[in-house]
């Protein structure tokens, strides 16, 4: 099964960067900022020509896969009802410098699980958080290239995982199944995988090493 429409929430560096690569891969791409789509019309037309500026409601309703690319401290502005039952990809990270203090993060095992607690009906995956937005363009390679960079995908939902693995492959990267959502700690900030560049075998080895070290080695396979 192949995803056709990507709905991106957030028209920042990451949102527009994912949009450009998704357009190149042949997807229909919707982007929503906060509020009236007219506010981001110009940004979208220049930064991701071909993508369509829409409301968040429309992006969520029409997308086969919803991509979350808002600043993490705005996660509570995500609409739980709109994301209910949807395949959702979390690309966000915690940056104290721009996100401020987030006490609730201390209580969550990972930022994705904090987000999931707010949108419990979403079928959530985490990926693309561990690659620089400009590297999405620079490092993308055709399938089979010797130097193709690998990216990890985690989810508790088998269908969502399959969708996102396919999405990451079509963006130009080797997609590595890293197991359940809780394994996302292996590629959050302060890990070697976060912003590190790996081939698929090297990424798999690093994932195993990290999760074993933390006594969290679990796999969905």
């Amino acid at each position: 099964m192949s995803t056709q429409t990507i709905g991106i929430l957030g028209a920042g560096k990451v949102g527009t960067g994912v949009a450009r690569q998704a357009l190149l891969a042949g997807y229909r791409v919707l982007i929503a900022g906060s509020g009236d789509p007219k506010k981001i019309d110009l940004i979208v037309s220049v930064m991701a020509p071909g993508a369509i500026a829409v409301t968040a409601e429309q992006a969520m309703a029409e997308a086969d896969l919803v991509v979350l690319s808002v600043p993490l401290h705005k996660f509570r502005t995500l609409d739980p009802a709109g994301l209910n039952g949807k395949h959702v990809l979390d690309t966000m990270n915690y940056w104290r410098d721009t996100n401020g203090d987030m006490p609730e993060l201390a209580d969550a095992p990972s930022s994705s699980e904090m987000v999931l607690a707010h949108i419990p009906g979403a079928r959530l995956a985490k990926s693309l958080n561990h690659i620089g937005y400009h590297e999405l363009e620079l490092d993308a390679r055709p399938d089979g290239s010797a130097d193709r960079r690998a990216l990890a995908v985690v989810s508790d939902d088998d269908d969502t995982r399959a969708l996102v693995l396919d999405f990451v492959e079509r963006l130009g990267f080797d997609a590595v199944d890293a197991g359940p959502l809780s394994n996302g700690t292996a590629f959050e900030p302060d890990t070697p995988i976060f912003t590190g560049s790996y081939t698929a075998p090297a990424l798999e080895a690093e994932l195993v090493a990290h999760l074993a070290e933390r006594g969290e080695l679990t796999t969905s396979r």
């Binding site: 920042g12 940004i43 930064m47 401020g100 400009h134 912003t195």
Partner: protein, 352 residues
């Protein structure tokens, strides 16, 4: 094309020797660079602020004032003023004063800052990151507009006391301060600068030079849409780099590495290495280290993508030795600048 240099007054321990420049020596070094940059015909000397031990500058204005007294032609600006943790009224007064000292050569570049030490220091709440900046940039531009019109200003906001029919003194030369907005490339920041109608300068701190073409395009389209004369607004680029007749990339590497290791540790990135450095010093990458021809070519390549009006380099990352900085400044003015002028026309024709 205007060319220039900027610095935060780096006083890191030297990666090779462990030796450390004192804050007092750093001030002398900065002023020596300003004098030389002025002499060799560079257009801009910028000073940025940090509030941590590896940097000698937390107060921009006095350093620029000292530079103003020792130079003749070069423009003097902040790179950048962390406006979110400043009082725009005080900043306007300080830069108006530098403008008076320098005969109209002062500029102010406002940014949010990518380091956050000044927030707790001055009692600003990081949770107000966006709102603080929005309010303060609007007030700063309002003050400058009131100055231009020689009119009082009435203003109220959330983060400083209201102004009731206030006139702020002194005014700058010709009643107008040259104000820029600095951004790392967040699309909404570009859109904001375009809407406000200020000049904009992009920090090219990674990726490929070509990546920023879209930002410049967005800025000009946005300014035109907002009713500003987009051609009259300037686009700048700030980046790191060092110029030498030979071995510039090798000389620069340990200093660049030191700074990147520190930032990576603080922000949870993986540390870079010589391979990622080489990608950035390659012709399409964002580090401008090389001989004069190589650096000129890279600036011209950047110009092809962005059509920018100003290119400034931070040469003293992690306290690259003063002798290398002075040589680099000299080559920037005497060799790189003529190569760029020959290709693009002189600065004067360009600015016309």
């Amino acid at each position: 094309m205007e060319l220039g240099i900027y610095s935060f007054g780096d006083i890191h321990a030297d990666p090779a020797t462990g030796a450390r420049v004192s804050p007092q020596q750093s001030m002398a070094d900065l002023l020596e660079r300003a004098r030389l940059a002025d002499e060799v015909g560079l257009d801009y000397f910028g000073i940025g602020e940090h509030h941590r031990k590896e940097y000698s500058v937390s107060s921009i204005a006095p350093v620029l004032a000292a530079a103003a007294a020792q130079t003749k032609n070069i423009k003097l600006g902040s790179a950048v003023t962390v406006l979110s943790t400043e009082d725009p009224v005080r900043v306007y007064q300080q830069f108006s004063t530098i403008d008076l000292i320098s005969g109209g050569r002062a500029e102010l570049t406002a940014g949010r800052g990518s380091f956050i030490e000044s927030y707790p220091l001055f009692g600003a709440d990081l949770n107000d990151y966006e709102e603080l900046y929005e309010e303060k940039i609007a007030l700063l531009l309002g003050l400058n507009e009131a100055g231009r019109k020689e009119a009082p200003i009435t203003w109220s906001g959330k983060f400083r006391p209201a102004l009731d029919n206030a006139t702020i003194y002194p005014r700058p030369v010709d009643n107008d301060l040259d104000i820029w907005i600095a951004t790392g490339g967040t699309p909404s920041s570009t859109a904001r600068a375009a809407t406000l109608g200020t000049n904009v300068i992009y920090a090219l701190l990674g990726g490929a030079v070509s990546n920023f073409a879209r930002h410049a395009q967005l800025f000009r389209a946005g300014a035109a849409q907002a009713g500003h004369d987009a051609k009259a607004l300037k686009v700048g680029v700030s980046a790191v780099g060092l110029i030498a007749k030979g071995g510039a990339a090798d000389t620069f590497y340990p200093y660049w590495r030191r700074v990147m290791d520190d930032i990576s540790r603080e922000r949870g990135f993986s540390s870079p290495n010589r391979i990622s450095y080489n990608m950035q010093t390659a012709p399409s990458g964002a580090i401008y280290a090389g001989n004069p021809e190589q650096v000129a070519e890279k600036i011209l390549l950047t110009h092809q993508h962005m059509g920018h009006n100003r290119h400034i380099l931070e040469m003293d990352l992690a306290s690259v030795p003063q002798k290398d900085i002075l040589k680099s400044i000299e080559l920037f003015g005497t060799e790189v600048k003529p190569l760029i002028d020959a290709e693009l026309g002189t600065t004067k024709e360009n600015a016309a």
